[in-house]
Subunit: 273 residues, 3 copies
């Protein structure tokens, strides 16, 4: 199956029509921002973490997003319960391993989620993907210390090991399902100045995978559209605070036509080096 | 007692002078947004959920707002403790049954809060009010699947059963205390593109009921002013992200004179059909 | 050691180069806003509260910020664990005693944190500092009921008792380490219309103390830069919602040259009255 700018544009158009419900078990810092990102994009967010209700909410959702940014024991329990249930019901699961590599709790929880939930897509920065894939990894909190290129092999290995799509975001994003790989060049450096842009990219990926059957295509489409929103925002806001708001505006403003015109990505077969 | 645009304008003027303290036990997603809505309006928010302190904070507050948007066991315990205490001290309680109908936990908690706390005002969307009043209700997360008109009878019945005011918000808002009913036509469709606008309407209702002895009037006044803020925002912001910020600006910008000039609502006796 | 506008400008320049990691155990309401404040300023925020990971994250952080704005038992445990560990590793600790005086839980927790953690810097409003220092204190939620001048003696006494720097913010800020005192006149009245500006000032203080060895200077520098951001914002936004965003923009926009030109503060020896 090819992945072209037209495919991405069509997936966005479908998303806007179907307005998928995306269930998020995410961190306190970004809940408001990611809910607004989903609404601005055209999806419908629900945030819920009680073990008593996560299964019911998964049942009515088009995707489940699990984000480990502010972990604690009761939330970890809910993530596993919701994740396992989602997979049993064929609801796609997107994992954001925020800060994997920065603490044992985060690294261990993320790895255990890979093993027991087997997410459909993982989206992280280079340090996080390295921490999941090997032994090295991030050591400066939640911001990456590695380049996307450094994480490429770990991404391919993870994708093959778990049969999933891995998205590594950075100045240029890298997406692979172990067989295909894409490099997405949409986006803007200012995105790193706003908290939760990575988390919002993950949430948006949840909305795309809820409407696109090909997970690799869904991840590429999400990062193209999110990157275009970031470019749109850079034309409207110079400083960090208003840039974050403009990024939400961009998710609202970007149309399938914008995607056809401005999407910047390449897809290829994974070639072993 | 009549409810005119002048009444609403006077209540707003009183609120701005008295700056009531509003105690919120609310969900993680909207805490920042609703605190900012209360501050922008001219009230003083406090967010607190520890069972050890909720009673003390109720004692110094003009109203208590309970919002079940991200429930869990310890929070439910705090909601009951604060709610029962508030009623015993004649502090008005406003309930937002976010997602009632979408999970048993939410539906059961909201109904139990009605029974044991007997809120002064309940503010929800049509699906949530239907879920509280009967057996049907929301099934698509936290966004409504029903029209306000469909929820009218449930609202009247709930208001009479519990001796409270019920506000159903939507394209046109409906408010009833079982005897009187109001239809509020202020507002803008863009409000549904921002997370927490319903929750903010509930918090703002808390500020109004803290200064207006007539609960029905307080709910009408809150929805008129909130709707006017939404209209103001629509003149200043086109896209979802900046619209949310402009809505806060609108709560700050709207004056009693704006209310006298632009309030759009009708009040009537409830007529059985 | 003197503290001049040039010192403050140099500390800001250092902060922008070193981009210190600031670990925050803070309240739900302001997590997003304070993380964005730190990013906009040029620091790197991490929010984490699990007892299983706080020590590891302290080890990689330049400062720890503890904010008691939405307390509960598990969070209190994490605050003590992280705080005691930080002091043992010589990582500076900044405490924000949000709402001290408004409930016993808050007052007792804040006082116990002073005793057992011995923070490097405490930043609060006048009511909170009075509640920590004596018996009187805030009684209207989280907003101050006292003037900064009323809290001066309590601040000096607290600073000497615990060997720390105390910052009292208000229309004019007051900073003392028990020997020196500073009055900072940067800032704008509109800052009080946005939730979490005090909390953001505390977080920003964490970033400054991570790079400035003199804690008194760090606190003065933080409040000067934060106040200048507030002034910058007042030139760009009239109403509460957009003012909060413009405040973040201001933290991004303010340069060391702006500091040299517009810093408004005096430093003196503490003279007993």
């Amino acid at each position: 199956m090819t992945t072209s700018a037209s495919n991405v544009a069509e997936i966005l158009a479908t998303l806007r029509i179907r307005q998928p419900l995306v269930h998020n078990i995410t961190n306190y810092v970004v809940m408001n921002f990611t809910a607004n990102a989903l609404l601005a994009l055209g999806a419908s967010p629900i945030m819920a973490h009680a073990v008593e209700e996560v299964e019911e909410l998964v049942d009515i959702s088009g995707a489940l997003v699990i984000n480990i940014g502010t972990l604690s024991k009761p939330w970890i329990e809910a993530m596993f319960k919701a994740g396992v249930h989602a997979r049993s019901r064929h609801v796609p699961v997107v994992l954001d391993p925020v800060g994997a590599g920065a603490s044992r709790l985060r690294t261990d929880t993320a790895r255990e989620l890979l093993r027991r939930v087997r997410p459909t897509i993982v989206r992280g920065n280079a340090s996080e993907i390295l921490a999941l894939g090997g032994g090295v990894g991030g050591a400066h909190g939640v911001d990456t210390q590695h380049t996307v290129a450094q994480a490429r092999q770990a991404a391919v290995t993870l994708a093959r090991t778990y049969g999933m799509t891995v998205a590594v975001t950075g100045p240029e994003d890298y997406v692979t399902d172990g067989r295909r790989e894409a490099r997405v060049r949409n986006g803007h450096a200012r995105m790193a100045r706003v908290t939760g842009t990575g988390c919002a990219a993950t949430a948006v990926t949840g909305a795309f995978v809820a409407v696109a059957p090909d997970c690799f295509q869904a991840a590429v489409a999400a990062l193209v559209v999110f990157g275009l929103a970031g470019e749109w925002a850079a034309q409207h806001a110079q400083y960090a605070g208003s840039y974050g708001i403009a990024l939400l505006d961009g998710l609202d403003a970007i149309t399938p036509d914008n995607v056809r015109k401005d999407a910047k990505f390449d897809v290829a077969e994974v070639v072993e080096k």
